[in-house]
Amino acid sequence: MNTTAVIEGRRVTLGYREGKERVELFADVDFSLYRGELTALLGINGAGKSTLLRTMSATQPCLSGEILLGGVNLADLSERERAQRIGVVFTEKHLAGGLRVHELVALGRYPYTGFFGRLDRHDRERVEEVMVQAGIAHKRDAYLSQLSDGERQKAFIAKALAQESDVILLDEPTAFLDLPSRIETLMLLHRLAEECGKTILLSTHDVEQALVLADRLWLLSPQYGLECGVTEDMILSGRLDRLFPSESIRFDPEHGSYYPLVRSGAPVRLRAGNATLLHWAINLLNRNGFSCLIDKEEATSPDEKAARKSDSIPAISIEASHRIVLTTGERHRVLNSFEALADAIKRLKSV
């Protein structure tokens, strides 16, 4: 992989001016985007993701510092040059419902066309090509207002591709989409980075999919500012766990997802036939207020050893989802479904 930075921020201070007041969001942040990589920008709403993207696309000036595009300061480029190097996809209200898909994509050729925006043969060929690349060619003559949200996102991505820019910045391209369209959109962006060598940065709340497909993560939080790194490094260094300020939201590094921390009290011993059964049994028990002591060959902590000795703790053994044995004291009960297990432990709790 070529690791030259395509776009580079040096001591950039992000924020905006309100009248004479300077509102600083982040001071002196450094960042780089690399060719052929998909980078995901994560953070809570209001953390400044959109401000960062707008600053990088030069639709909003940074308060101090410089953003270099291939070594040249972004502010020194002409509008046309900038348009040929950075393409954007925003979620913005527009009047474009009356444009057909190919007309929208043709607007991506804006920085290349002449005074009246006439397309020459090369422009028209590019428009058709990028519609195929973005998987929207079958809707080329449809109006934007007739598209589904996912299709509209593809059309706007095709517009950005028509700009033939190295860099594509997207502000929450998966918001408002249903799950299949979210995954499809992210897969499309991943493919464009990998196969076409595009440098892509997108902000998103779809952490699970982003962790699978993004080469790098940019984490933006009020306490820690902007933290950048390769996805796996970021996960394994525990940075994702502190991305959200709430105590009750935890990151599960094993499964790459966030989960709500439920208050679990009474202990229960648990043994399961395989990892999947174990995972979902813990899920069920935690939700119902039990904390699980996982039975392994060897107990690891003195607490667990002590707990194991005590017979007052109920034990659950799961061989398959239809064969669950619940032991309380001397009594063994065989349950044939998770539904029955849920009922049984609820009754246990009320005792």
């Binding site: 030069a58 639709t59 009356g98 007309e103 607007l107 804006y110 925006g117 207002s145």
Partner: protein, 341 residues
């Protein structure tokens, strides 16, 4: 409709309507005589030739240019404010220009004089109209940065219109009877106020504004996507905005100064053009809006002279009859109309 078909048939219809405007009026002139006059040939009555050349031809040309100008002003405002229900009359630009004219006619007695220069008559009215239109546009832009909702901005525009109207009423109250009379006549709106002598200036002024609109076609298309996308595509948004507003202000002011505050053409015509073209691409919508504006204005002028000997119907009594139903249709059907969604 195919864009080319639309433009060709609209151009043909415009020609037919010009001929109809020349033939129709309180004095009946046969169509073949009208055509002879247009071709510069002698006709049996000299008075016919005089009526057509000195009265009806300037009136038809005024309608042609004023219609195109107002319609384009409406289209530019709709794209500039990202709001299909914007227009010079609804945003108060018309009444701003009207107030400017009222100040000149009623307060200053029809002329503006400063150290060393003097504007009088129509030119003074034009200066007043331009100043009024630009001030109102400035106020609306100021509010647009504060009020994010398009609907609320329209209501502010209507309020600004009310304020200028009451300023005009107050001016009327304190001015002379003759002043009030001529202002009221002007306020009814008509296309017959421009003499053959004034035509070259009026034509140059409106054509310059229309030409300006043609220059804005490419950035207008990018602006359909909103300011941020436009800026990313390389549009100099600030410059384009200034161009759009100067163009709109100029066209509205020129037409208002000469023909009175004409409502609805600016608001309704861009919708007719977009609906018939089934497209938002300004490369077609701009010329189509110009032609449709001319057609509607010529048609309204024809209706005004319809009573023949009984007199002339005020223009502002006719334009809402066609314009308001178009807007109601558009609002009722907005779910089915592409550019609303």
């Amino acid at each position: 409709m195919k864009p080319r078909t639309f433009l060709l048939s609209a151009a043909a219809l415009t020609l037919i309507l010009i001929l109809a405007n020349l033939a129709w009026g309180s004095v009946k002139i046969p169509l073949d005589a009208v055509i002879d006059i247009c071709l510069g040939q002698e006709v049996e009555k000299e008075s016919w030739s005089f009526i057509v050349v000195e009265s009806r031809l300037p009136q038809a040309l005024t309608a042609l240019l004023a219609g195109a100008s107002l319609a384009i002003a409406g289209l530019l405002l709709q794209t500039a404010f990202n709001n299909p229900l914007a227009g010079p009359s609804i945003l108060g630009v018309n009444s701003g220009a009207g107030l400017g004219v009222a100040v000149v006619m009623l307060l200053l007695g029809g002329s503006i004089s400063g150290n060393g220069f003097m504007l009088s008559g129509t030119l003074a009215m034009l200066a007043g109209a331009m100043a009024g239109a630009i001030v109102v546009l400035g106020v609306i832009i100021g509010f647009a940065s504060m009020v994010k909702s398009n609907l609320m901005l329209l209501i502010i525009g209507i309020m600004v219109g009310y304020i200028t109207s009451s300023a005009i009423s107050l001016l009327n109250f304190f001015s002379t009877t003759e002043g009030v009379f001529s202002y009221t006549i002007w306020g009814l709106g008509d296309f017959s106020g421009i003499s053959t002598g004034q035509m070259p200036f009026f034509a140059t002024a409106t054509l310059a504004g229309l030409f300006g609109a043609l220059l804005l076609i490419k950035p207008l298309n990018a602006l359909l996507l909103g300011e941020r996308y436009a800026a990313n595509l390389g549009v100099n948004v600030r410059l384009t905005r200034v161009g759009l507003l100067l163009c709109t202000g100029w066209l509205t002011a020129v037409v208002t100064a000469y023909c009175g505050p004409i409502s609805f053409i600016g608001l309704a015509v861009p919708h007719i053009a977009r609906l018939l073209l089934q497209s938002s691409d300004h490369r077609w919508v701009v010329p189509a809006t110009m032609l449709t504006g001319s057609i509607v204005a010529l048609l309204c002028n024809l209706l005004c002279v319809l009573p023949g000997d009984l007199g002339i119907i005020p223009l502002n009594a006719v334009t809402p009859l066609f314009g308001a139903p178009v807007i109601i249709y558009v609002i009722v059907n907005q779910r089915k109309i592409q550019y609303f969604n």
